[in-house]
Symmetry: C2
Subunit: 121 residues, 2 copies
């Protein structure tokens, strides 16, 4: 993964897209944000148990890519919540298609709630 926007492995939009959000921890975080998680603690508590250093690093990268934005919800001590931007919400159809494939081909995977699969682009 690179967060250097000046580095393009090629002009391929698939390759370039994956270079931004294509690592697996990032997609776990995006799934959780789509599902309504907002705080660092909520994100750290997913069943996949993302290591906290990875979580912090990915959140910084997603913010610098303008896929999420941070919003202060408590002053003392300072606490932030993380919200998807339009650029971030536009990742939903990708995640839906991955879920469809996973449910079809990998045994014993969770079936996502209907609203998750039907949500509009």
């Amino acid at each position: 993964m690179t967060t250097d926007k000046n580095f393009l492995r090629s002009g391929c939009p698939i390759v370039s897209g994956l270079d931004v959000f294509g690592d697996k921890w990032t997609l776990v975080i995006l799934r959780d944000l789509i599902c309504g998680k907002e705080t660092y603690t909520e994100l750290a508590n997913s069943p996949e148990k993302i290591p906290t250093n990875r979580l912090a690093e990915r959140l910084r990268m997603l913010e610098s890519e303008k896929i999420i934005e941070k919003s202060l919800y408590q002053e003392k001590p300072k606490r932030y919540k993380y919200l998807l931007t339009e650029k971030g919400r536009d990742i939903l159809p990708i995640v839906q298609e991955i879920a469809r494939w996973g449910n079809k081909y990998i045994e014993d995977t969770w079936v996502p709630p209907k609203w998750f699969m039907q949500e509009e682009r």
Copy 2:
């Protein structure tokens, strides 16, 4: 990446799907197979210049996952071509959605040919 089917980070179909095909070299190979490349040499010559050891390793993994199948097209010396199975072709909608996002949000990315974006599931 793991190729151990018994390892599931969770029952999440998104996470599990990505554990199979979600690394960036694998998706470059799948893009190329969707675009009609068939031989090892054609796959090795993509603009992203996948290292040959990675290419060989990913092809073995994709074959063991039944996402591609090898077919002998020359006897002496033995030469194989690689074809997508139905499980492999079903990755197309994911790749299409990634391309749509890349074209929308990353400057100077190639616009895929129309047939690539319209191909049916």
